[in-house]
Amino acid sequence: MRNWVLTGAALVLLVGGAASAQERPSDQTLRFLQSKVVADPDDALAHNRLAGAYIRKARESGDIAYYALAEQTAQRSLQIIPRGPVAARATTMMAVVQLARHQFREALVSVRTALDQDPSEQTPQAIAGDALIELGEYDEAGRAYARLAGLDGPRRPDARVAYLKFLRGDTPGAIASMREAVTRWAAAMPVGEPLAWTRAQLGHLLLGTNDLGGAEAAYRDALTALPGYHPALAGSAAVQAARGKLPDAAALYHKALDVVPLPEYATALGDVYTRLGRTTEASKQYALVEYIGKLSAINQTVYNRELALFYADHERKLPQVLDLARKELEARRDVYTYDVLAWTLYRNGQAREAQAAMKEALKLGTQDARLLFHAGMIHRALGEDDAARTALARALALNPRFHVLHAEVAASALAELRARR
C-alpha cells in the first residue's frame, strides 16, 4: 500500500515537473536536442538542429550566451561532417551568429562557403541579403532576396523585402509585405519568436506612420505570440509615449529593461523622464547608457550606433562620439549609420560635412521622420532655410510625434523658420 502511495507521488511529481511554469517550448526543444546529441555525439544533423535551437533561444531571450553555444554546436557539426549539405547547414548557422554579432563581412564569407557546399540551400541567400543591407549594398541585397521569391510559406522573405521597401521609401508597400509575412508565420507557427518578431516589426512600421492603434495592436499580438518579448514591450512603450501617456510608457520601458538592458531602451526611458521633468530619474537612465557604453567599449559589443546616437542627442562626449560614428561606418555602411554620422557631425558643429553624410543617409528616399528631422536641422545650420523648412515639414507630416523630445524641437524650429520668411 505504502509503495503505491509513493509511486503515485513520484508520478505526480514527474508530470508536474515536466509542465513547470517557466519552461517554454523552446526550452523543451533544447533539452530534447541536447539529449539526442548526448545519445549520439557524432550526429551532425542533431548538432545542426541544436545550434538552430540555441539561436532561437538567443533571439527570444536576448541572452548572447546562447550564440556562443550555437557557434560551438555548429563547429562540432562541421568537425563531424566538414563537407556537403550538412556542412552547409552548419556554416549557415555560423553566418547567423556572425550576423548577430555584426560581423557582416565574415557572415558573407560563411554564406559563400555554405553555398559552395550546397548550392541549393536557400537560407544563406536570406542571410546574405541581411548582411548586404547592413553594408549598404541594397541592389545586391535585393537580388539575394529575389532568389528566394519562389519559396512558399514563412520562408518567403516577405519581412526582409518589407524592410528593403521601407528603406527605399515605399512605406505602404513595406507595411503590406510585413502583413503578408505576419499572416504566413501565424499560419505556420502560431506562437514563438519568429511570429513575435514579425509582428513587432509591423508595429515599428506602423508607429513610424503615426498609426498608433495599429502599432499597439501589432505589439500586443507580438506579446501574445511570445509573452515578455522585449522589442514588443519597448514598442508598446513608444506607443504610450506618442499618446502622451508618459507614466505608462515609463512603466513599459522598465519592463523591457528588466528583460534586457539595451541602451536604446534606457535612452528612451531617460527621455520620457526628461519630458516628465523627473531629471534625477532621467539622469540615472542616461548614466546606465553611458555605463553600457563603457562595457561596450571593453567588450566590443554591437551597440556602437545606438550609443553614438545617444551621445549626439544628449551632447555628451562629442569629439569621441565622432570617432565612434566614423569607426562604425567602417563596419556598417547602411543609411542609418550615415544618418548617425551626419547627426554627430552636426552636433560637433561641422554642418558642411554633416550634409555630405546626410545626403548618403537620404539617398534611398527612406520615409523616416528621424532622418528628415536631422536633415532639416543640418540645412538650418547651413542657412538653407527653404530646404530646412521642407525637410522639417515632411518629418512632422510623416509623424508629428516621432520622438518624445525631438518632435517638439522640430516643430519649434519649423515655426521659427516659417516666421522668418
Partner: protein, 493 residues
Amino acid sequence: MRRLAALLVLLALGLAVTGADAHPLGNFSISHYTALEIGAADVTVRYVIDMAEIPTFQETQDTGLVAEAGHASVAPWSANKVAALVRGLRLTIGEQPLSLTAVSHETIFPPGAGGLPTLKLGVVYRAPLPKEADGTLELRYRDENFAERAGWKEIIARPAPGVTLVASTAPATDRSRELSDYPTDLLNSPPQDVEARVSFTRGTSTVAAAPAAAAPPMALRPNVQTSGGNAFADLVARSEPGLGLLALALATAAVLGGFHALEPGHGKTVVAAYLVGSRGTAWHALILGVVVTISHTAGVYLLGAVTFYASKHVVPEQLYPWLSLFSGLTIAVLGAMMFIRRFGGVADHHHGPGGHHHGPGGHTHSHDGLAAHTHGPGEAHDHASQPVSLRALVALGVSGGIIPCPAALVVLLTALSLHRVGFGLVLIVAFSVGLAAVLVAIGILMVYAGRLMTRFKEEGPLIQRWLPLTSSAVMTLLGFGIAIQAVVPWIRR
C-alpha cells in the same frame, strides 16, 4: 581547395568570437542558485544571486550601494536585499507556507569586464519543518526574483542525514559550484529552473531528537571563467592595451604563429629540403625567415583588404587556389633547377626561379652585398659547389609565406570589425614573425644536421650527391603536389 575553404571557415568561426565577456552569461545576466538542504527538523535554503556588470550598476544606481568590499553602504544594502529577496521565495509543505529566516549572508564584488564590479550575494535561509507531520511530505519551492532577466537559474535538492528523498524535480548535484564555475560546453545551456518539488520521508525518531544543526555560512567565490572567447581574437578585442598588455599580446601572437607553423602546410618540408639540398647556412635560414615574415604579413594584409573592401566582387576563397598554384609552381621550379644542377653536376651555376639569374655561385653573394655575412668563422667552405642564391631564397620565402594563414586573416578581420585596425596589423606582424621563427629554427636545425653528417663522412657520395639530389627531387614533387592540389577542384567542377 575545398578543404582549405572549410578550414578557413572553421578557423574563422573558432577565432571570431567577439570580445571578452567577463561574465560567462553576458553582462546583463542575473543568475540564481538555490540549494535546498532538507533536514529532519528544518529546511536550509542556500541562495546565491550573481549579478553581472550591468545589473550591478543598476543596483548601485537605484540604492546608493557602493560596490566596494568593506564600504559602509554594503552592510545596510545587504540587509535590505536579504529581506527583499526572501519575499520572492515561496516555500511550502503541502499547502502550508514555511517562513524563511536569514541565518547568515555574504556579499562580494568580484571584478568583471575591464575591472568593473559584479556582485554576488549569498544568503543562508532556514525554515523549520512542522514537527507533527508524518509520512511522505511534499516540499514545493519557487523563486520569483528577477523572473524576466536572463541568467543561469539552478535549483538543487539534497537530503540531510535521517531524511530520504522519495522524488525530486531538482537534481542533487551542483552544476555551477554555487555560481562560481559555469559549465560553458555546448550541452550545458543555462538551466532555467525556478521551481522545484521534492517529496521526502523522515524517520520518526529523528524528528523529535534532531537539533537544528548549524548551517555553514556562505563562502562565495568569484567566477572561474572569464571568457568563452579565443585567445588570439581576444587579444584584439581587449580595450586600450597598455604597454605591458601590448607586449604580452605581441608575444602571444608570436607564439600562436609558431604553433601554426608547426601545423601541416607552411612549407616546412620545402624549407628544410631546400636548405639541405642547397647546403645553406644559418644565414640563409635567417634570410628565408625574414622573407617568409614579410610575405606572410603582406599576404594577410592583401587578402584582408580584398575580403574587407572587395568582398562583393572577389570571393576571397577563390584567391587561395591561385596563391597555392603560384606557390606550388615556384617551389617545383626551384626544386627542378636544383635537381638538374645536382644531377648534371653543374655546381657553379644557379638559375633563379624566372631564369633571370645567371652567374657563378660564388659571386652571387657579393652582388647581393651579403657575401661577408654568409660565412661565419669555422664554417665549411664548400660553397663553391653549393651556392645559395638570394633570389632563390626570396622566391622560396615568398612562395612559402604568400599563402596567408586563415587564422591570421581572421584576426585581421576581427580587428577591422572591432575598429582596432592598427593593433590588428601589428599583431599580424608578430604572428608572422612567430611563424617564420619556427621555420627558421627548422631550417637551421636541418643545416646543422646536414653538417653533422658531413663530418661523419666528409665528401662521401651520400652528402655530396644523393642527399641534395633526393632533397631537390622531394622539393619538386612537393611543389607539383601543392600546385595540383590547387588545380584539381577546378577540374572537378
